[in-house]
């Protein structure tokens, strides 16, 4: 019997084992600490944004968490590197709604690319926050409202 299911796809397992951009960013222009108090997921997202162009030149993260949160953060960093801040907000909105089951990339036009592989999460309401923590933290960093965001 195997565990092949919509949730733990191979890409997610790979990013969990070997996360990308998994380090601190020394010259970060933005950073934020995000926690999910229910699970204990705990990450920090760093961004280097070019103020003139609004382009995310570099993005990275550190911290610990479950496979879903780690893979989601890792994939987010690879996806957003080189993108514009305004575009990343659009993707945040679509991603957030997708994992809640309020946005269906199979039926609606979207900008999620391979991030749609997190669609399976909508079948696991107790795990949606694991996937969205990275994104909330990234937005928290961009908004510079607080030093810390929480899923609760």
């Amino acid at each position: 019997m195997s565990y092949d299911n919509e949730l733990y796809q191979q890409v997610i397992l790979d990013h969990n084992r070997k996360p990308k951009n998994f380090h601190e960013l020394k010259n970060a222009t933005h950073k934020c600490h995000g926690i999910n108090p229910l699970c204990g997921d705990d990450i920090t997202v760093y961004l280097d944004v070019d103020e003139a162009t609004g382009v995310i030149q570099d993005i990275s993260f550190t911290g610990s968490g479950c496979a879903i949160s780690k893979a989601s953060t890792s994939l987010m960093t690879t996806f957003l590197k080189g993108k514009k801040v305004d575009d990343s907000r659009v993707v945040f909105d679509e991603f957030h709604k997708m994992v809640l089951g309020e946005f269906d990339p199979e039926k609606q036009e979207h900008h999620l690319g391979k991030l749609t592989l997190f669609m399976g999460i909508r079948e696991y309401p107790s795990r949606t926050k694991c996937a969205s923590l990275a994104w909330h933290t990234m937005i928290g960093a961009l908004d510079k409202k607080t030093d810390e965001v929480s899923t609760e």
Partner: protein, 415 residues
């Protein structure tokens, strides 16, 4: 004793017991349902379900507030349930049993009604490093408010309280010591009698959080000698929304009410209220009547099996499960006290507890993953969270085999 011998010696006919719990014969996604989250809450036997249903169908009425027959009858049944709790805990009188919504409310009641009155600036409260947040936060808040000091009994690497440290923490400023009887994360059975004797010598009162012990072992509050003993019905096969505490009468008599209103008074004029004696003083408002009746039925059910037999059988489950898990590479059991109840907190090098729980669920196995409302315990053991298997007398050895097999698969999957 090896695992074959442990099974051989089993003190309980588990298939008979399981037939009493309708939910246990359910399937989850085509697989048998394996329920190992009894530390969070327990399933209900048919006897409790039926008693609750019969009471609501035929005997339900308000309590303590009327003199027609239905009300007298329900009041009588309600008070009989109080007597059952008193007998179950070995309390001297039923007036020393207060009904609350559960452990959380009971501890808050004591922190408020005893704490606000008797803990002052410079005084000390002692808890341990392995308490549920319900037995941590109320004392933190109290100490902050009063300018008192919260002291914490440390634990060793096996999860046992370091009693020499406790001896040093106790002073003539200690007003109350609040510790659990059984840790909900580690399963450690704490030496509550010794803790109580020492606290009393120092002039402090003692609260024992019995949420995880009362459903699983024989408890005698007079033998322990504690001043308060708190519990939750939903963890002992009774409905949710009901629980309570034993409180020593001479201590409760000195305490002011926690919640005020109807039913807790002797006399009210617009100028002044005279409060009723305990337990009524601490039971303002209409209580969860049906739930109290259900609690009484759960106690009858447990008594019929016998708490000593339950403890012995669950101990054999623990020994069996411990042995199975110890053989798995990359698995750590957090909490290895010599004196331990049937709780196994699991940590895998390769998979986070939340991934473990989701995967186990796909095999029909229900465990809790997370910090179990005991973050200071997680910090002490250097883990963010654990996956916890907490057993009851309706669990089978075979279910632990299934758990071990699934865990092996999960380790492979994530490595």
């Amino acid at each position: 004793m090896d695992n074959a011998e442990i099974m051989e010696k089993s003190s309980i006919d588990v298939e008979n017991i399981r037939a009493d719990f309708p939910v246990l014969s359910k399937q989850i996604g085509g697989k048998p349902f394996i329920y190992l989250d009894n530390g969070a809450t327990t399933q209900k036997p048919q006897a409790v379900i039926d008693r609750v249903s019969q009471f609501d169908s035929e005997e339900y009425g308000t309590v303590r507030r009327g003199s027609y027959r239905l009300c007298e009858r329900s009041t009588q049944l309600y008070e009989e349930a109080r007597q059952k709790v008193a007998d179950f805990l070995g309390a001297p009188t039923k007036q020393e049993i207060v009904f609350t919504s559960g452990t959380t409310q009971s501890i808050n009641l004591v922190a408020h009604s005893f704490g606000r009155k008797f803990v002052n600036a410079g005084d000390e409260v002692i808890i341990s490093n392995i308490e549920h947040h319900a037995n941590t936060v109320p004392w933190q808040v109290l100490c902050e408010e009063k300018g008192a000091k919260l002291k914490v009994i440390p634990v060793n690497d096996d999860g046992e309280l370091i009693m020499e440290e406790y001896d040093r923490l106790l002073t003539d400023k200690t007003r109350i010591v609040a510790v659990n009887h059984v840790s909900n994360v580690l399963g450690t059975i704490n030496p509550v009698k010794e803790i109580t004797v020492k606290a009393h010598k120092a002039g402090a009162k003692v609260l024992i959080d019995g949420a995880q012990s009362m459903p699983h072992m024989k408890v005698d509050v007079q033998d322990i000698g504690c001043d308060f003993y708190t519990f939750s019905g939903h963890k002992m096969y009774a409905p949710s929304g009901i629980g309570g505490m034993f409180g020593r009468m001479e201590v409760m008599e000195t305490m002011s009410p926690y919640v005020t209103g109807g039913d807790m008074i002797l006399q009210v004029t617009l100028e002044k209220t005279i409060f009723a004696k305990p337990p009524a003083r601490f039971e303002a408002g209409t209580p969860p009547i049906t739930q109290v009746i259900g609690l009484g039925a759960a106690i009858d059910y447990l008594d019929a099996i016998g708490m000593d037999r339950i403890f012995e059988y669950e101990k054999s489950l623990l020994d069996y499960g411990t042995r199975l898990l110890q053989e798995i590479d990359g698995l750590r059991i957090i909490g290895n006290a010599a004196d331990k109840a049937a709780i196994l907190s699991i940590y895998l090098e390769s998979a986070h507890p939340h991934d473990i729980i989701t995967m186990l669920d796909q095999d029909g196995i229900a465990l809790r993953g997370g910090h179990h409302c005991a973050q200071p315990t997680m910090i002490r053991f250097g883990v963010p969270a654990t996956a916890r298997a907490s057993m009851a007398f309706y669990n089978k050895f075979e279910e632990l085999d299934a758990l071990a097999e699934s865990l092996r698969k999960i380790i492979k999957f994530f490595s």
